[in-house]
């Protein structure tokens, strides 16, 4: 009961804060001190967002971005998940790939954009590869440490109960490592999402949320920029909370392997 009133109270306060900030923004936009092109009013941004949603252009940009991010992210999972498991199970695989991963990981994925542009040209290939690069390492390292950190007691228990190699792998190691694997996917998507926006700014032509923001700068279309920012934030939020959140709730949270999200 008291927890509920507490939550209502903090929602109310959050709403008040956001309203005040919005009012301050609106006041400075209307004050005439700043160029309207640089500081559009909230109704203008809303109208732009609405118009772009209606004529389908926003959907097009979002779909392009979504396609690139899912392609790169999917590629990263297809490569990094098996590789991470192999690294966790076999010393020789670990010995070969771990030093390489440690050396490549500190290079920000977006630093590769100019190189990839030279190699693959502007467009989808470059963007997808940058996303792939960004998503691979969190996936790889989390899978690797997840497999290594599977409780040896579980392995022994499964062994005494007659589990063979195959059962051991699918029924013990994979579920045991799943908290790390899911964390890895979450971080990989977060990195991929950042990478796709950055890569589209530099390497995409005509379509994509990152491109539309950057292109809007040329024509001082601040309203388009802010509307696209809102869409980027919305998609990121949906993925972080709804997709990965429900994935976690359905698996590791149900098994009691992690506490509920810290925030």
């Amino acid at each position: 009961m008291s927890a509920n009133t507490e939550r209502m109270r903090s929602y109310r306060r959050a709403a008040v804060t956001l309203l005040v900030v919005a009012a301050l923004y609106e006041a400075s936009a209307r004050s005439g001190y700043f160029a309207p092109a640089l500081l559009p009013t909230l109704p203008t941004i809303g109208r732009t967002l609405f118009a772009m949603l209606l004529d389908g252009s926003m959907l097009g940009h979002a779909l392009y971005t979504f396609y690139r991010v899912m392609f790169g992210f999917g590629l990263a999972i297809v490569v990094a998940l098996p590789l991470g498991i192999l690294m966790g199970r076999f010393r020789t695989v670990e010995g070969f790939f771990l030093p390489l991963a440690s050396a490549l990981m500190p290079v920000p994925s977006l630093a590769w954009v100019p190189v990839f542009i030279l190699w693959f040209g502007l467009g989808n290939t470059t963007t997808v590869l940058v996303v792939f690069y960004a998503a691979t390492f969190p996936m790889l390292l989390n899978t690797w440490s997840g497999v290594r950190s599977v409780n040896p007691l579980w392995l022994r228990a499964a062994g005494t109960m007659g589990a063979d190699e195959n059962a051991m792998f699918w029924k013990v190691i994979i579920p045991g490592a799943s908290p790390f694997i899911i964390t890895g996917m979450r971080q990989a998507f977060l990195r991929a999402w950042i990478a796709v926006v950055g890569a589209e700014m530099i390497a995409a032509s005509n379509w994509g949320l990152g491109w539309v923001i950057f292109d809007a700068k040329e024509f001082l279309n601040t309203d388009i920029m802010l509307a696209s920012l809102a869409v980027i934030g919305f998609i990121g939020f949906v993925f972080e909370r709804l997709v990965f959140g429900s994935l976690e709730r359905a698996t590791i949270q149900r098994w009691g392997m992690v506490r509920a999200a810290k925030s």
């Binding site: 956001l18 640089l38 050396a103 500190p106 954009v113 190189v115 390292l141 700014m201 530099i202 990121g236």
Partner: protein, 281 residues
């Protein structure tokens, strides 16, 4: 489970195999060789492809060329100049994020009012990738250093804010009670108990913030029309198909990134939270 794992599981765990303690000189040589051999294999493959001429040499230079370019640019002072400018921007941007982030984070952890004001804003702004704000900042503050530093500071401050806030909230109640029963007033409770108690989280936030600042700075330099900087160097080299310059630049970016991640807060942490047993190394 260490504190750092709780907040982020990603910060390089990869050094485990690199840093296996070696006892004798023979062991040490052996482990150095083991670490080096994957690089030798990959390097050899690169060399074969480059020398076979499958791709145009301008686009796929040999490693000797990249190394020669690296040495040439270093001796001419061009590479150090780019790197220093980039590091100066990083320091300015990160300092901004560190100061603002720690102050706001502590305020949020200590006062309900500050939490009510900042938490909704942080939870709306933080999930959008920092780089997405770049065009907006460039439009509002113009091309150049000011917008770059401001954006780097802005984008990297959220990791510091969130971790500091969490840390202040996570200070053990039993420490607070002990200190109060020994007569600590609010000011001393803050300085002597809450601040050191939250330190492991604050360090984690600073580490993450630094890594983020580095990632975003490299891209912003490509967009912000600055004259010097590693990001600009590799971006500009594209015009003249100078792949060797680019790869040398990427290598330097990687090395600096590695040093920042591993060593900047290391000593500070070793001297405080690690010595106190509050964080494992």
């Amino acid at each position: 489970m260490t504190l750092r794992d709780a907040v982020t599981a990603e910060t390089a765990r990869a050094d485990v195999a690199l840093a296996t303690p070696a006892r004798g000189i023979g062991d040490r040589l052996r482990s150095a060789a083991l670490t080096a051999y994957p690089f030798v294999v990959v390097g050899a493959m690169w060399e074969i492809v480059a020398h076979l001429g499958i791709f145009p040499p301008r686009l796929f230079p040999t490693l000797e060329e990249v190394a020669a370019t690296f040495v040439r640019l270093t001796v001419m002072g061009i590479l150090p100049h780019h790197a220093l400018e980039t590091l100066a921007r990083l320091s300015a941007g990160f300092a901004l994020a560190a100061v603002a982030g720690v102050v706001i984070g502590i305020a949020m952890g200590r006062s309900r009012r500050a939490e009510d004001i900042f938490l909704p804003l942080v939870s709306i702004i933080a999930p959008i990738p920092g780089i997405a704000y770049a065009p907006l900042f460039l439009l509002w503050f113009g091309l150049g250093n000011f917008a770059t530093v401001l954006l780097v500071g802005f984008a990297s401050s959220f990791a510091v804010i969130i971790n500091t806030w969490t840390g202040v909230k996570a200070v053990k109640e039993i420490w607070v009670r002990s200190a109060q029963s020994m007569g600590a007033d609010n000011r001393r409770l803050f300085r002597l108990v809450i601040l050191p108690g939250a330190l492991p989280y604050i360090f984690t936030g600073l580490r993450l913030g630094m890594a983020q600042a580095w990632r975003i700075l490299v891209v912003v330099e490509m967009l912000a029309g600055v004259q010097w900087g590693l990001g600009w160097m590799i971006f500009g080299a594209r015009e003249f198909l100078n792949t060797d310059v680019m790869l040398a630049g990427v290598a330097v970016i990687g090395i600096i990134g590695l040093v920042l991640e591993k060593h900047v807060f290391q000593r500070l942490e070793d001297y405080t939270v690690v010595r106190w047993g509050m964080m494992e190394q």
